[in-house]
């Protein structure tokens, strides 16, 4: 965990986020500082500790496979940035 230098270009690509050069500089510096604070965790011996994903133990919640009322096409498309013939319009993917 000695890496407090972030490869900001790589992370921005993973996050599908266009960042300006200025943003890259700011975030890399600020997050380096935040990650340094995380070094506190290195002082702990966590070898035999089970990780906790949730505060309470959870098991799968299963439901009967029964049809339920859903959105109408109009409702489902209400917030779409572009729609036509009951479908979301997206920029051309294949030439």
């Amino acid at each position: 965990m000695a890496h407090t230098e972030i490869d900001i270009d790589k992370v921005a690509k993973l996050a599908r986020l266009d960042l300006s050069d200025e943003e890259k500089q700011t975030y890399a510096a600020q997050l380096g500082q935040v990650l340094e604070h995380m070094e506190k965790l290195n002082a702990l011996n966590l070898d035999d500790v089970e990780p906790t994903a949730h505060s309470f133990p959870l098991s799968n919640v299963l439901d009967e496979d029964e049809p339920q009322p859903g959105f109408t096409p109009e409702e489902a498309l209400r917030n779409a940035p572009a729609a036509r013939e009951n479908q979301v319009v997206v920029p051309k993917v294949v030439e």
């Binding site: 965990m1 890496h3 972030i6 900001i8 790589k10 992370v11 921005a12 993973l14 996050a15 599908r16 986020l17 266009d18 960042l19 943003e23 975030y27 600020q30 997050l31 500082q33 935040v34 990650l35 604070h37 995380m38 070094e39 506190k40 965790l41 702990l44 966590l46 500790v49 089970e50 990780p51 906790t52 994903a53 949730h54 505060s55 309470f56 959870l58 799968n60 919640v61 439901d63 959105f71 409702e75 489902a76 209400r78 917030n79 779409a80 940035p81 572009a82 979301v88 997206v90 920029p91 051309k92 993917v93």
Partner: protein, 486 residues
């Protein structure tokens, strides 16, 4: 008689049942109060005046017909703008969702509608609930009603400020690392985070799913109990919703029980403002003088709160926010060259600075090569934090701590220093990591007239006892009765 906006929700409910006031008069009084003060406070992103009055009319008609459905019937409730109400805007105070209209109701919204509550207004927050000051809103900065130059806390700053300023009798917020309790403390109202799983998260815009929980803001503990009662209940649409018997929270407030209250010594160290400390010490003495036993306890993992939280919460956030791709809903960039570019540019244009910062941090700690070093380690540390609380609760019924290390700070003071901002939630974060309930109650003012909050942390699903402890303190003091001059 006191103005309607000065009344507690319980008093208004009582007045409604006696026919001393109508729901429409109550709603109109709040709308007029909003007209008078929200230009200064800016708690609301939007509200639908006509719809609110129509709902109030319907409540009055139910009551006339003898069909009123309970203590919330006809009482206005305003919601943080991350809780879905069908056909109303739902923005998360983000330009990403600026024009989004919810196609459905959140579970809590359904429950409150069924109980006749008048749901109105969308309250401002830090964008996607990320922040401690409501300065990260994509739309406006909410001001602290006690000093307009100061922040109301965050992320539910609008929900806290609205109650403090008398713009709503009570409101709902969401709490991921202290986002209900910290602004309640800074605005001088009661704010409570339920045990994880007690309130369904269905219809709450997700930030960090293993930590988020919806909870009430109110003038008094009794009002908080009243609103909590209205939103609990099992929901099969949220797989983390717990099916547990629900007690009568309001009835449980009145008790002669003597408690053993733990004071964790780690919460009284460096960084705690002396005036805040004095107020908390006085509150502890107040419990002692009521005959409750005070015991010192230790939570040695307290200082891990911030590092663990700022690994787990951004990790979950980066995953949750990946759904904002500009395709099906939300902002879509007009500048994109191709389909993939739609993702990059839409997200860059739609999200604000703090959200981007956390997405980057989250993507980093989850990325190949760093997962074990950060994310897995943080999950293990979370186990230790939970064990710490379990050990403390063997010695006491609840814990007393400060809610926030300082009173409200000035706007702009911490905006360029994320770490310092993150540290302002140091006393609330561990409660979310352990999934416990917590409530902040007003316990004094600084010499500059800013509210101070006492945090009471309860055992899991022991909200009734925790609220009774808070209520016992509140009965001895008049902090809750004070209102800011606006």
């Amino acid at each position: 008689m006191a103005e309607i906006y000065e009344q507690t929700a319980a008093a208004l409910s009582d007045m409604l049942s006696k026919g001393e006031v109508s729901s429409k008069e109550i709603m109109a009084a709040y709308l007029s109060r909003i007209d008078n003060v929200d230009g200064k406070v800016r708690a609301f992103n939007s509200f639908d005046r006509d719809d609110a009055l129509l709902q109030a009319d319907a409540a009055d008609k139910r009551r006339m017909d003898g069909l009123a459905v309970g203590p919330l019937d006809g009482i206005p409730v305003a919601l943080k703008d991350v809780i879905a109400v069908k056909d109303q805007p739902l923005t998360a105070s983000s330009n990403m969702l600026k024009d989004f209209v919810s196609p459905y109701d959140a579970h809590v919204t359904e429950l409150l509608k069924r109980q006749g509550a008048v749901l109105f207004g969308r309250l401002n927050l830090d964008e996607f609930a990320m922040g401690s000051s409501t300065e990260n809103s994509g739309f406006a900065r909410t001001c602290n009603p006690w000093d307009l130059e100061r922040i109301p806390g965050g992320s539910s700053g609008g929900s806290a400020a609205a109650v403090a300023a008398g713009e709503a009798p009570f409101t709902l917020g969401s709490d991921t690392g202290g986002s209900i309790r910290q602004p309640a403390s800074l605005c001088g109202c009661v704010g409570m985070k339920p045990t994880y799983g007690l309130v369904s998260r269905y219809g709450l815009i997700a930030f960090a799913s293993s930590l988020d929980q919806i909870g009430p803001f109110a003038k008094t503990v009794e009002d908080a109990a009243l609103l909590l009662q209205g939103i609990v209940g099992h929901d099969r649409r949220d797989s983390t919703s717990i099916n547990t018997p629900v007690p009568d929270y309001r009835a449980a407030l009145k008790t002669d029980k003597k408690w053993r209250l733990g004071v964790p010594k780690e919460y009284f160290g460096e960084g705690l403002d002396p005036e805040v400390r004095a107020a908390i010490d006085a509150a502890i003495k107040s419990y002692e003088s009521m005959g409750h036993e005070i015991v010192e306890v230790s939570l040695p993992t307290t200082e891990l709160a911030v590092p663990v939280y700022y690994i787990l919460a951004p990790a979950e956030a980066s995953s949750n926010l990946s759904r904002y791709d500009g395709i099906r809903y939300g902002h879509r960039s007009q500048k994109a060259k191709d389909a993939i570019d739609v993702y990059y540019k839409s997200r860059a244009e739609g999200f604000g600075a703090e959200v981007k910062r956390r997405i980057i941090l989250g993507a980093y700690v989850l990325s190949s090569g760093y997962y074990d070093a950060y994310y897995l380690k943080a999950q293990k540390a979370r186990t230790i934090i939970r064990n710490d609380f379990n050990a403390a609760f063997e010695k006491c019924d609840a814990l007393l701590t400060p809610t926030s290390p300082t009173a409200a700070f000035k706007a702009g003071e911490k905006t360029d220093d994320p770490l310092s901002m993150y540290l302002s939630d140091i006393f609330t974060i561990n409660v979310n990591l352990a999934g416990l309930p917590g409530v902040s109650v007003p316990c004094g003012f600084t010499s500059g007239g800013l509210p101070i909050g006492l945090q009471i942390i309860g055992k899991a699903f022991e909200e009734a006892e925790m609220l009774a402890i808070a209520h016992a303190y509140e009965q001895q003091h008049d902090w809750s009765k004070r209102m800011p001059a606006l």
